[in-house]
Symmetry: D2
Subunit: 341 residues, 4 copies
């Protein structure tokens, strides 16, 4: 299968290229960006020397459709919303890693403050949370956001199992490494400001909030709005999503264990931790590791889920979706050996 | 005034020495430890060259009482509980930075799993949360814990103002740099395991939980147990305490602002942030900076308080307590210029 | 091919397991350590969940020889020197990642201050710097040290080409991440002491000095002793070896470029950087990247070589040696996609 | 004494403000910048809340001269070269922390690639390496650069003592934290690129090279050009300057010890380390700590000097120069207690 990547020079694009380089059934035939067009990618990114010698091309939908079988968008928000149109109209498969096809037009306008894709385009896309959506045979995938992936995988089994009290909001305290904030230059990504610091940002305003609520509402339309914090850890990779959930009386540690075990019994990329998971055990892989603890004094269940934001939270899940779309082995090409050290 | 420090080689002891070296009214006359007795401290800690040439001595209560006017304990838990006895019995002033005189004997036994001080000794100690306790003229101070300080200063004004819903537990997601975990060698403090990681530990089991509950109960005996997470940030210094609080209907951002402003109007070491505070603005100082946000969708108030765990969370507050005990300028000797960069 | 790993719980052992899990021609059949015997490795190391469920076994040479075809030693120094004996005597293949079979008995005693292996055993081993030694068909490989690998690959082509002035010592200023210092607990590996610091240690006393000199002397017996600094970077992985070399008059940037190009023309794991290499371009891979600059004012050539100390500097090169011993594809199983971010 | 700071929002400007806030004889009466004019500085920098409520003003030389007694320039290179002119012409004291008045016009043009100050202006300035220049009563001080300070203090005593071989270049491998690279946004200061990395930049092209050579040549006009590397450590503060020096035959460890002891016997801000110094022992202070080792096998002396680049390497030395100019206590206002942890 031949694929093209649009937005190659962003963090997700580079990670996607790396994963696809290890994929037996896929060949990356073109890479696209707005800057550095005409340059060999390994001249700009020396880590790709001997690994990829493609030349960066300007975006050209017709050209991509002529030589590829599928296009990945790994672009900043506000771009794929428009660029995806000719592909969708032509029935040409798209996997969008950006947030542009995850929400309704109204919700997108509100949370992204950008012009949404046309509703007719949005209607074609399936939200591809790989463990919960059946994407086999689908053509247009909206790949979930990083915070959203970690949080939804922690919450969905519990919402489905109806063990949460209805009168309390779900509270999520999520943390991310700096690659999650993107490659753009700003005071908030300057090394000096991030290092030895911990900065909470976009409190209750992060654009993954409506995405998570939308996913949860599929299983329980009555859920209260969620309380959602996002903070930057002074590290490059990784998301830790800590959820505090008021459980119904009598819901025990063992009951929660059974819920998660059942939910993920046949899911290769979700693992239940014996204790609480940390980032080292998933960085470099497509895994989501989940641990939890019921506090009998407070009736609150704490769930901690950890992922590599660039892999399971972006490029890895995109490839997982590709594998599932095509009916291939779900794990093909995906990294499973953690960096660990 | 002449003072002695017991437990000089721990992180709190060293920080205390540093602060007292800048204090106009205090002279450190002896320093004590169990290891490295007989060595000049600047031979072991080169940063003290030309700043302190005291020789480390073994602990000797009688000797300390003969040459000092006050003793600081900066020892690990389980030590000051016993060593404080002769001082208390002799009416010789003690400031204990450890957790050994903060809780009742019963609670201490349960949470520290160590033998508590005698109840008669514990009865003599005042819990010195400097902004809330009047320690003037007191002789025996139990200096608050680091997580406890950050959390209590965020919560007490709100509990006092009775704006929290009674039927919901307070949820605290607290994070600390590694100096908070102490100097001991363990896998969990090995650089390789901490760096690029985020580890949640002692979930609902941290010994500062009963300390916080005890402080809150002074103002509202009916509060539910708190939900409390503690995690390690890959940094050396700093605590971020993030609290999620269900507020009564109609409690607005402005109302909370007024509560905090009133509570801390005349407190030199608590500052209200215009936005959400980060660690850089307090590291190296005795300040507690507090920011907050009411979410009108969820009715949840998020409060973030930040401190330097070794200063306001340990040695700085101990000196602040000393200043208040003695009726001196509360800020004497205490650092107020943040490291910032 | 079936292999066993002795010293599985050290950093090199875990990395080796990870690489071999991706190797098509090798199966790890047993893993050995002195601690945690009898436990499933993924119970201790959660990142290995679903990746390896071997149980840690005590060391037993006969047992290993009965079920394996080759044994890797990833043990601290001073262990393989003795444990290797029955294997060598039985003609059973050994790859030793430790320093125990790299030096003569005399030199080992001097630099490691431990009892050396018997000379008869040492005589069987080949020092396996993969780019310079022909190990095909060999049975006993002493895998090079991390600093040594980075430094020798930077220096050997220049020594061979005879472009260095004979009357000046080679000066090497090498830096390593903390995994290079091993898993042992010590003040020097405590997070608080390493973070935000830069510590030079074992100046002119590092045990890789005789290893490097021995390798260089194979090509020029007259070289002066080298000057060698080792420092700890506050990171987990990576070695940067910066060499300062007085070149003969007239040796130009272009001449050096040609020397390196020629030396590494057919070597898949050495890349010449266009500029000076940094760590990000090699971490997570088995590559050595080399950059350099001739300073015409001083006549000094600066060469910077970078590696991932756990891969090319340990487990990766060990597998590279295995591949070469067996006549397989040199790159089989070895990671080539850098973590990069 | 009343002073003004031009360039307040840069790292050096902010550090200077912090130090002067602790100085008994100095009051900062105005602060100047090109951006954020009209805003209260503590509104932009929350760490200054309650510490400084000055409003940022546009630069106006006449205004500064009317209300201040001295002006500090903490501006990027290429600015003070021109702004200093009216002050010098009016005989109004200037301390310039930038590189604009350190070099001859010719050398400045070559290394900074910017238009130099007029030669008549440059002639008025004294290069203020506080331990070597007598600045008492001087009016115009060019404050040394950060790398230059650390390196010159390591080298000057040895050059003066004539123990270095004349036929070998001095080789310096210097490393700096990111504050040394300034506040500007660029890919090279983006957190993701710096973290877990080690990047060598401006090899043999750093603008502190001519500054160091100029200082050394005052004591030995025949010295060969120096070989100088500069690299970025993934930390915020600190410079480590490692020098490799070929010493004359017979120069021993003890001889070097005596040279340094004699050179710095009465210098309060230079300390000789018993072993090799690390950054933790000087960060947060105005100290330079120096350690060294003679290698008898190679005849090479390694000297390591460490400073806090923002203090001794910039703002601290500027205040030290002020103190010396005015005949005050050299240490007034300057921090001497290391952050350490």
């Amino acid at each position: 299968m031949k694929v093209s990547i649009v937005g190659i020079t962003g963090y997700s694009g580079l990670e996607l290229l790396k994963i696809l380089n290890n994929h037996k059934k896929v060949q990356v035939v073109s890479i696209h960006a707005t800057k550095e067009v005409g340059q060999c990618i390994s001249d700009i990114y020396p880590h790709l020397t001997d690994q990829c010698d493609l030349v960066i091309e300007a975006f050209d939908a017709a050209e991509i459709m002529s030589k590829s079988d599928l296009v990945f968008f790994a672009t900043p928000s506000g771009i794929a919303s428009h660029l995806s149109e000719p592909f969708v109209e032509a029935g040409f498969p798209v996997i969008d890693l950006s947030g542009d096809h995850r929400l309704s037009a109204t919700s997108y306008s509100e949370w992204y403050a950008k012009e949404p894709a046309k509703q007719a385009i949005l209607d074609q896309f399936v939200y591809g949370l790989a463990e919960f959506t059946d994407v086999k045979g689908k053509k247009f995938i909206a790949n979930p956001g990083c915070y959203a992936t970690a949080t939804e995988l922690a919450l969905l089994p519990l919402v489905q199992a109806e063990v949460l009290e209805k009168d309390s909001s779900i509270i999520v305290d999520a943390k991310s490494g700096l690659t999650g904030a993107g490659k753009g230059l700003s005071d908030s990504s300057h090394f000096v400001n991030v290092h030895d610091n911990y900065v909470t940002y976009k409190l209750n305003k992060h654009q993954h909030i409506p995405e998570i609520e939308q996913a949860l509402h599929l299983f329980d339309a009555d859920l209260l709005p969620i309380q959602f914090s996002t903070s930057l850890l002074p590290i490059n990779r990784g998301i830790v999503s800590t959820s505090y959930l008021k459980v119904k009386e009598g819901v025990s540690q063992e009951a929660v264990q059974m819920i998660f075990e059942k939910a993920y019994a046949d899911k290769v990329f979700v693992r239940l931790s014996k204790g609480l998971p940390d980032l080292h055990q998933v960085l470099g892989t497509n895994y989501t590791d989940i641990g939890f603890q019921v506090n009998e004094k407070t009736g609150i269940l704490t769930v901690i889920s950890v992922i590599d934001n660039l892999i399971k939270g972006a490029a890895g899940q995109a490839v997982q979706n590709l594998n599932l779309m095509m009916g291939w082995d779900e794990a093909e090409g995906l990294p499973v050996q953690a960096t660990y050290l």
